[in-house]
């Protein structure tokens, strides 16, 4: 297992009784694409920050590639393997030039100077931002900035990338850019992706969807199963993707649509079968 979470609880205020994360057990395997959903205050961001040691659990343990996040000596190793992209694209770009920012993490690791250029160029190419490498961050769109942030993480050659509501502040185009990039990295380069989001339609291609509520895991299911129970989703204050809604209405009206149809292409295919 790449990440093992055992009995983790966390509270921000040591005097209070309420836990932001309240007893989570979870295993993440290499190469998985996992979505974490939940309404505001469900503890999903706090939980995500525990996966690379930005927050240490009050109780329980988080184990990354055999290293405990509580062990300060392994923090650098953990963080280079578990990259994190945050919500606000403006607040995570350090340098004044795109390529310098991508180099930031690599420089921190003390990698040989002659190798950095190649690493940075290939990370930028991988997210499709190579042609913008000399631009200034404020000349980029939100989606582009997030792709630069992903490149910055990617340059450290991580096993896993956590996108902590990285699409929340973007317009639909920017969101699509980020999700496509994340999917490609997962499918083609085998990087584990943990995508934390409010938008269920971003998770139709995920392997698992984990819903959180009050710091606990409400369910942990593949997307088709997760979307099938719209009543439960509603009680967790989560939406159902449009296509899934349409499919279920069609099904109710006696039109045979497969249970695992989650996107436009699938729905079109199913409907075309009808003739």
């Amino acid at each position: 297992m790449m990440i093992q979470v055992r009995g983790v609880r966390y509270k921000y205020d040591s005097d209070s009784d309420s836990y932001a994360v309240d007893g989570i057990d979870l295993d993440l395997a290499q190469g998985e694409f996992v979505g974490i959903v939940g309404h505001n205050g469900s503890g999903k961001s706090t939980f995500a920050k525990m996966l690379n040691g930005l927050i240490l659990p009050t109780e329980g343990s988080v184990n990354v590639l055999g290293m405990d996040t509580k062990d300060e000596k392994s923090l650098i190793q953990i963080r280079r393997n578990i990259g994190m992209v945050f919500q606000n694209p403006d607040n995570q770009i350090v340098a004044t030039i795109v390529e310098e920012d991508v180099a930031f993490g690599v420089e921190n690791l003390g990698i040989e100077q002659t190798k950095i250029r190649g690493i940075v160029d290939s990370a930028l190419t991988s997210v499709g931002m190579y042609s913008s490498r000399l631009k200034k961050p404020h000349q980029l769109s939100g989606g582009q900035k997030q792709r630069v942030a992903i490149a910055g993480v990617l340059a450290m050659n991580p096993r896993c990338i956590i996108l902590d509501e990285s699409t929340a502040m973007l317009d639909p185009n920017g969101r699509a850019e980020v999700i496509t990039t994340a999917l490609r990295l997962n499918k083609e380069e085998g990087v584990t992706v943990v995508l934390i989001t409010h938008y269920m339609e971003e998770l139709v291609n995920a392997d698992r969807i984990i819903a959180m509520e009050n710091g606990k895991i409400a369910f942990d299911l593949p997307p088709a199963k997760a979307f099938s129970d719209s009543g439960r989703l509603r009680s967790l204050r989560l939406g159902v993707p449009e296509i899934v809604q349409i499919a279920s209405i069609l099904r109710e009206n006696g039109i045979p649509i497969r249970e695992n149809t989650l996107d436009v292409e699938g729905l079109v295919e199913d409907i075309c079968q009808l003739k």
């Binding site: 994190m84 995570q92 004044t96 921190n108």
Partner: protein
């Protein structure tokens, strides 16, 4: 309107001065200013003037930009010139009412004005022909050579870099806050100076709050990208001296030696 703010006063151009290593330029300005204080006769200033104007001309920066940099000191310079003309004792050159101007005073005033103007011009030449990033890198590299400042070299350049990075972001933010306050009826234009100054408080408070929020998030992002300070860090881009820098060094040694020499020899 706030978008038009330019950071620093870098004037991008393709010139040998722009292509010089920032360390070379920083050293040049430092020694040039040092030599300026050594020079105290016309020959020295001719050397300095010819050197400075050939630098300005070869940098392709419009002369107007350099002259504009002198404006802020114009008043102070003329005032001190006047003072030295009138107060330095010596042979009378002219007389207005009771005020006596002396030849010695005139000479001193001329030297001082030339000194300050050249000092300012050389400094603005540095910032006009060096991008802020290069300047930061150059300063870090030079600080690393100075034992006392060595410890702060990385932190200083990191802070400068982040400040430069966030200026446009915070300018945008200020613009947004101003518009938000204006849409609620805030008035930044009318009233006395005190009133106008006061009306900026509703801009500054949210700006500060958000700046702290940004700082907190940025610190977390840096931490999650394995930042632990300057130690053990490598750099993608290394400053490297080229042939151009060696040539510049030779030219500088000649010019600066002649400036100093003219001061020492002619005054005998």
């Amino acid at each position: 309107m706030l978008q038009d703010i330019t950071i620093g006063q870098y004037y991008p151009a393709d010139s040998p001065i722009h292509a010089l290593d920032p360390r070379t330029k920083l050293k040049a300005v430092f020694f040039f200013i040092f030599c300026l204080f050594w020079v105290n006769n016309i020959y020295g200033f001719i050397f300095a003037g010819v050197f400075l104007s050939s630098v300005v001309l070869s940098s392709k920066v419009p002369v107007g930009y350099v002259v504009k940099g002198l404006k802020p000191v114009l008043f102070v310079v003329s005032l001190t010139m006047l003072m030295s003309i009138l107060t330095i004792p010596g042979d009378e050159a002219f007389r207005i009412f009771v005020f006596k101007g002396t030849w010695q005073g005139l000479r001193q005033a001329g030297i001082m004005a030339a000194r300050i103007f050249m000092l300012i011009s050389s400094a603005s030449m540095l910032t006009l022909a060096t991008s802020t990033i290069d300047l930061t890198d150059g300063l870090e590299a030079l600080f690393l050579k100075i034992p006392l400042l060595k410890r702060f070299a990385h932190d200083m350049s990191m802070m400068m870099c982040i400040a430069l990075r966030f200026i446009p972001t915070l300018v945008d933010e200020t613009d947004r806050i101003m518009k938000a306050q204006m849409s609620r009826g805030a008035d930044f234009q009318s009233g006395s100076f005190a009133q106008r100054a006061k009306s900026f408080i509703p801009i500054l408070v949210p700006l500060f709050v958000s700046a702290f929020q940004r700082a907190y998030e940025l610190a977390m992002a840096m931490e999650s990208r394995c930042y632990t300070g300057g130690e053990g860090r490598t750099r993608m881009k290394l400053l490297e001296y080229t042939k151009l820098d060696y040539t510049a060094n030779v030219v500088m040694v000649i010019v600066f030696c002649s400036m100093v020499a003219s001061g020492v020899l002619v005054n005998r």
